[in-house]
């Protein structure tokens, strides 16, 4: 295989946006500071200069207003908006537009609406940003029918999945972990798409399956690497898209290894991790050789102090212990 250049997760997303904007005039980017500033994470850098203020639109702090604007614009078929919502924590301000409007229009209109929009937002703790800027609230979106929910872990996946998300005719919530923006990885220069609903086996193994999301994929891979030295073979499955969910790949892995650890940065109750555990219990119980282990933060707000926050975020050590326990 030819050597592929390495770029960051943020740059990979930027390439996807650039490609889609270049290809289709209907694609517009909207959000706070996405224009000249290039987005507070730098994901929209250069787009304003290239496509102008009409298509790279800075908005006032009116989350419900601009997310609703995207919903309406998408419903008319005149635009394919990509909205940036700085922090997933702010989604409460605009939640009605997501869960009652975007998610339900097609169904309520008897299949006569398409809502081709992407809401890009960020999740993740680890920056002492405290309880209102650090959450991983993807479960809130998974919970509501009518939304597609994507959560990439690598630059390669980020580019391919964002291209698919923008080309999809349904509302897609695209969640980027803040801790991943600077992560580098191989990304082809040419555009490519990764189908939504296709999980990726990030590492093959035969003894234990870890299903992990976003930043937790990297921690799980570290643990797998370490345990490999002891002869423990860990398979790491990254669903990448949480809705639709590639249950086949997840269940096949559980059937193969007979052991499951789920690692997610979302809150513990009624979350993505419990969802996967329930899937295993209801559809692969007879293959399980040990109880499923779930690793998530505790049910507390995210603390500010680095000492406490480190404790809050699932650590490699906890993942490692969980794997040892199920073995």
């Amino acid at each position: 295989m030819a050597v592929v250049r390495e770029i960051t997760f943020a740059q990979a997303l930027n390439e996807a946006l650039d490609y889609e904007m270049g290809k289709d005039e209907k694609v517009v980017v909207m959000g706070e500071d996405v224009g000249l500033y290039g987005g507070i994470y730098g994901v929209t850098a250069g787009l304003y200069e290239k496509y102008g203020p009409e298509r790279v639109r800075d908005t006032p702090i009116a989350e419900s207003g601009f997310v609703g604007t995207a919903v309406g614009a998408a419903a008319t078929g005149l635009l394919r908006p990509v909205v940036e919502l700085m922090f997933i924590d702010f989604l409460g301000v605009t939640y009605d537009q997501i869960y009652n409007q975007a998610a339900k229009m097609r169904y309520m209109f008897g299949g006569k609406a398409r809502i081709p929009m992407v809401l890009r937002t960020t999740c993740g703790a680890g920056f002492s940003a405290a309880a209102q800027h650090s959450q991983s609230l993807h479960a809130l979106f998974i919970h509501v029918p009518g939304l597609k929910v994507v959560m990439p872990s690598t630059p390669y996946d980020a580019k391919g999945l964002l291209i698919s998300a923008i080309e999809d005719d349904d509302p897609v919530i695209f969640i980027e972990h803040k801790g991943l923006y600077a992560v580098k990885g191989p990304v082809p220069e040419e555009p490519y798409s990764i189908p939504l609903g296709e999980a990726d086996v990030k590492r093959e193994g035969k003894d234990v399956t870890i299903v992990a999301t976003a930043a937790m994929v990297h921690k799980s891979l570290e643990v797998a690497e370490k345990l490999a030295e002891e002869g423990v073979s860990v398979e790491v499955v990254d669903p990448r898209s949480l809705v639709p969910l590639d249950t086949d790949t997840i269940l096949n892995s559980i059937k193969k290894t007979g052991r499951l650890v789920v690692v997610d940065e979302g809150y513990p109750r009624a979350g993505f991790a419990t969802d996967i555990a329930a899937l295993a219990a209801s559809r692969a119980f007879e293959h399980l050789k040990a109880p499923v282990k779930i690793i998530t933060p505790p049910a507390t707000p995210v603390p500010f102090s680095p000492a406490l926050e480190n404790e809050w975020i699932p650590s490699a050590e906890r993942i490692e212990n969980a794997v040892r326990e199920v073995l």
């Binding site: 517009v28 009409e54 298509r55 639109r57 908005t59 006032p60 009116a62 989350e63 419900s64 207003g65 601009f66 997310v67 609703g68 604007t69 995207a70 919903v71 309406g72 614009a73 998408a74 419903a75 008319t76 078929g77 005149l78 635009l79 908006p81 009605d96 537009q97 009652n100 409007q101 229009m105 097609r106 169904y107 309520m108 209109f109 008897g110 299949g111 006569k112 609406a113 398409r114 809502i115 029918p145 009518g146 597609k148 999809d168 005719d169 349904d170 189908p195 939504l196 609903g197 296709e198 999980a199 898209s241 809705v243 639709p244 969910l245 590639d246 249950t247 086949d248 209801s282």
Partner: protein, 334 residues
């Protein structure tokens, strides 16, 4: 606006459309009372002149967003009454295949982006339609309908501000029927008129008698033409009154019978318009009677269609959630 300045054809369309809405709504009230229409039903009786005065200035390609009280907007925008009646019944042939009901009647084919169960929820959708129109270089407009109650909601303030700063072709039409369920207008806001709020967003705001279809037509015409010319949004407040309760079954403890009777007697938009048409010799009594007759027939046919239509099949429960098929599990069932 003097009737002489409006084509006869338009005047008769306005009269006919108001009558169609009135007949529709009164018939739906009966059907609801008979238990044939399930769910919540919010009727538009008394407010017909607002939808009609505005819609007389719109084209099929223009967009509107509607409210939980949306039947009138739907009919005036050119929606198919058979499809909406079937929807009210929850039938397979309904505009939403029986999945939306009264609060979610929509018809994207005529630019009706949907009634809405969330007060204020549709306002930004009109802003989005306006943005789409502008970026595609079209000369269409989008009109957001909403109530006085909704004008206190975040989506109103945020939506109108976005349309103002971006100079979008959007017209905001507040149907001030003076009640937010039971809370009267003077207890909702301290300003005399919702139109005054336009000042905060640097756009024109006008207040109009919403029972006078020609007055609504005139201010809407100006606002819509202004929007088409690329001069940005306008806020219109149409002062109106709902003759029926907030929803069917509302005991209406918050207002007196006398007040309602006064409005019905003195400010019925259809009666007022009728008097004008007759006085000016634009139509004869016989012609107007024929319009009522035709409307009753149309609505009866729609009711018959709805009654005879089949219920949706069980399989349809799982359909229409998503439009783009993808790999993986999209519609979850354990």
């Amino acid at each position: 606006m003097p009737v002489e300045e409006i084509p006869r054809e338009t005047l008769l369309w306005m009269y006919e459309t108001m009558v169609r809405i009135r007949v529709h709504e009164e018939r739906v009230a009966e059907l609801f009372a008979q238990g044939k229409v399930p769910g919540f039903v919010h009727l538009y009786v008394g407010e017909e002149a607002v939808a009609v005065g505005v819609m007389a200035n719109l084209r099929r390609e223009d967009f509107i967003t509607s409210t939980h009280r949306g039947h009138g907007h739907y009919i005036a925008k050119g929606g198919d009454v058979k499809a909406s009646m079937a929807e009210l019944f929850g039938k397979k042939t309904g505009s939403g295949k029986g999945k939306g009901g009264s609060m979610h009647i929509a018809d994207l084919d005529v630019g009706e982006l949907g009634a809405n169960g969330m007060v204020g929820g549709g306002i930004p959708h009109a802003v989005g339609a306006g943005l789409g129109i502008k970026l595609n270089g079209l000369d269409n407009v989008a009109v957001a309908f909403f109530g006085d109650g909704a004008s206190n909601q975040q989506n109103f303030h945020e939506g109108i501000n976005l349309a103002a700063i971006w100079k979008l072709p959007v017209v905001f039409v507040c149907e001030n029927n003076q009640y937010q369920i039971s809370l009267s207008y003077d207890k909702q806001q301290t300003i005399k008129s919702v139109a005054e709020r336009a000042k905060a967003y640097g756009i024109p705001g006008v207040s109009v008698d919403g029972q006078d279809v020609l007055a609504v037509y005139e201010v809407a015409k100006e606002a819509i033409e202004r929007a088409r010319r690329g001069e940005g949004p306008t806020l219109i407040e149409a002062k109106t009154y709902r003759f029926r309760g907030h929803f069917e079954g509302d005991p209406q403890v918050y207002r007196s019978k006398e007040e309602v009777e006064w409005w019905k007697k003195n400010k019925d938009p259809i009666k007022l318009f009728e008097e004008k048409l007759l006085a000016k010799g634009i139509a004869t009594r016989e012609e107007l009677d024929a319009i009522w007759e035709k409307a009753r027939k149309e609505i009866e046919e729609a009711v018959k269609f709805a009654e005879e239509s089949p219920w949706p099949s069980k399989e349809e429960l799982l359909e229409d959630v998503f439009s783009t098929p993808t790999k993986g599990v999209l519609v979850w069932q354990w």
